[in-house]
């Protein structure tokens, strides 16, 4: 069982006890184990992986590949399916660029969810424009969910890619990837899943998910910034052309001809972020030790408490479904008549950190016809006491800003 003491594992939280950090969908804090692993890498193993023939370099290579195996296993994937990148954004740019080079044409369709983060929407929008492929919006239902039924209505055999998010970073609603994969595959399309808001909150089983590619950011799962990845299913990976080119991703180079490595290495041009990979592997080890049942139970308890509490605050309108069973501990809302930024400013004055704005999902906010929203996103290291404080301050926002209650 996870208790409030867990925050002591996180040096920033232990140092800033007054801080109520509720912006975990933006980035999570890092446990000591992750920081120590990165430091240890630089003190014991730092060399450029896969280059030198001396002991240190071989150790660096082994540490990097061990990290790949650990992170892939954590996500239910094989090491050969995990390409390390800077994070979800780079992963989606990699996929879109590679799919376009593989031969997207004006006869093809790309379907992207309306509730996408810009990191998923913009790369696909760009390649659709470049190749004259048709870009079709996949609308969430009234609960904010992307359903197989809705996808079935807009997909046909011209569709090459369906790009969705596992959990919307605004709506907090969990989408059923397996059912979406069935519909996509029946039409002959590949399913690309942005799992940035899922990893670190719920177990991911890539092998069973049905997704053809799944992207994530390490810094949203207690790992360092600047490391993340894309899982690309074996069988598709081989058919996708390379993206960035440079050192270490080639097999042979001559003036006339180039052949590329196979597997993840073909996507990892240049010097890799080995320290980041090692830190991310340490984050997965930390979570394994906490155990999924404990993390999920704690986040569910906090999330249920938050939703029940928000329902009691006058004037709060939750974006998406208020049903706790359908969502994560990520809740966006507005307070009647008050702009999201003003709500966030009042919370900030009480040391409560939340996100306000369109959360890099402007098309969704336009679709919902709201200019902005306030987002509270939880981690297992938050506490009931912190949520009580949040609810107290929210209840006073209109008065504090001079509104007639």
């Amino acid at each position: 069982m996870i208790t409030d003491e867990i925050s002591q594992d996180f040096p920033l939280l232990a140092r800033q006890m007054e801080l109520i950090y509720l912006d975990n969908a933006a980035t999570t804090q890092k446990p000591h184990a992750v920081l120590a692993a990165e430091q240890e890498w630089y003190e014991a193993d730092n060399a450029n992986p896969a280059r030198g023939l001396y002991d240190l370099s071989e150790r660096a290579s082994a540490a990097y590949e061990d990290a790949r195996a650990a992170v892939a296993a954590f996500l239910g994937a094989r090491a050969g399916e995990l390409v390390f990148t800077r994070g979800a954004t780079e992963s989606l740019n990699l996929l879109a660029a590679s799919v376009a080079r593989a031969g997207l044409t004006k006869d093809d369709t790309v379907i992207v969810s309306r509730s996408s983060h810009h990191a998923n929407f913009l790369p696909w929008r760009q390649v659709a424009r470049d190749t004259e492929a048709r870009l079709v919006a996949f609308e969430p239902d009234e609960h904010g969910q992307l359903t197989a039924e809705a996808l079935a209505k807009i997909i046909d055999t011209r569709c090459k890619i369906v790009a969705v998010e596992a959990v919307s970073n605004v709506l907090g609603v969990v989408n059923d990837i397996a059912s979406l994969a069935q519909v996509a595959h029946a039409a002959g399309a590949r399913l690309v899943v942005d799992a940035a808001q899922l990893v670190g909150h719920r177990p991911v089983d890539f092998a069973a998910s049905g997704a053809d590619a799944l992207v994530f950011s390490g810094h949203k799962m207690y790992g360092p910034m600047g490391i993340g990845g894309v899982l690309i299913r074996a069988g598709w990976q081989e058919r996708l052309p390379v993206w960035q080119q440079g050192g270490e991703m080639i097999e042979t180079v001559s003036w006339e001809q180039v052949t590329y490595k196979t597997g993840p290495a073909k996507w990892e041009a240049g010097t890799v972020n080995a320290a980041g990979a090692v830190g991310l592997a340490a984050a997965t080890a930390y979570m394994r030790q906490l155990s999924w049942p404990a993390m999920v139970a704690r986040e569910q308890e906090l999330s249920d408490y938050l939703l029940a509490g928000l329902a009691r605050v006058a004037g709060v309108a939750i974006v998406g479904t208020p049903e706790a069973g359908r969502r994560h501990g990520l809740v966006s809302f507005n307070i009647e008549g008050v702009h999201a930024h003003d709500v966030a400013a009042v919370l900030a004055s009480e040391q409560i950190g939340v996100r306000a704005g369109h959360h890099c999902a402007a098309p969704l906010h336009q679709y919902l016809r709201i200019p902005a929203s306030v987002r509270v996103s939880l981690s297992f290291y938050n506490s009931i006491g912190q949520i009580d404080k949040l609810l107290d301050v929210l209840a006073s926002v209109r008065v504090r800003l001079g509104y007639d209650v």
């Binding site: 919006a137 930024h341 003003d342 400013a345 704005g357 369109h358 679709y367 016809r369 200019p371 001079g402």
Partner: protein, 190 residues
């Protein structure tokens, strides 16, 4: 920093009870009335040539809130946008033949700071000649950057209630949205 440093009484009064809000205009209305935004489409906009920030002249007779200003020589309108936070305020400015600003109104969506700043800007710039208004805008922007002299501050009246925003970099764009938009409108006065 606490919220009440800049959410002071003057600011909240202007935000909640604006004197220059345009009652006839719909918040977020596109420049071309009668065309509602089509959220099912994605428009391609050239960098820096967003439709939202296009400046245009309007017919005073058909502009909400300007019926009584039909004698004004010109009414200009423009929308100012803070894309990152969704602030979207439209301003209308009427200028007479002597280049005196007769009326400023605004409508749209924005946080309290952007709306209060819009109302205060309208209050202070109305009655000024265009050149004088441009000086006041420069003084305000200097204040928000923390670079205004005492003499500049003395010209700004109630707008000094926004001075503390200089300590909150994330909110600077809220405070300056109205002033930058009005500055652009005034460059179109002929």
């Amino acid at each position: 920093m606490t919220y009440n440093q800049f959410y002071n009484d003057i600011l909240t009064a202007h935000a909640l009870h604006p004197r220059h809000a345009n009652p006839g205009a719909t918040p977020g209305l596109p420049l071309n009335p009668g065309v509602t935004p089509d959220f099912g489409q994605t428009r391609e906009l050239l960098p820096g040539l967003d439709d939202d920030t296009r400046r245009e002249k309007v017919n005073p007779g058909t502009t909400p809130g300007f019926e009584q200003q039909a004698a004004a020589e010109q009414v200009l309108t423009q929308i100012g946008v803070n894309a990152s936070c969704g602030d979207r305020l439209q301003f209308w400015v009427s200028v007479d033949e002597d280049k005196v600003i007769k009326q400023i109104t605004f409508a749209g969506e924005g946080c309290m700071i952007s709306r209060a700043s819009a109302d205060i800007a309208a209050e202070i710039l109305t009655g000024q000649k265009v050149a004088g208004a441009q000086t006041l805008i420069a003084n305000f922007v200097a204040m928000i950057r923390g670079a205004a002299s005492e003499a500049q501050m003395a010209t700004l009246g109630e707008a000094v209630a926004l001075a503390d925003i200089q300590n909150s970099p994330a909110r600077v764009k809220c405070a300056t949205l109205a002033w930058h938009t009005l500055e652009q409108i005034l460059t179109g006065v002929i």
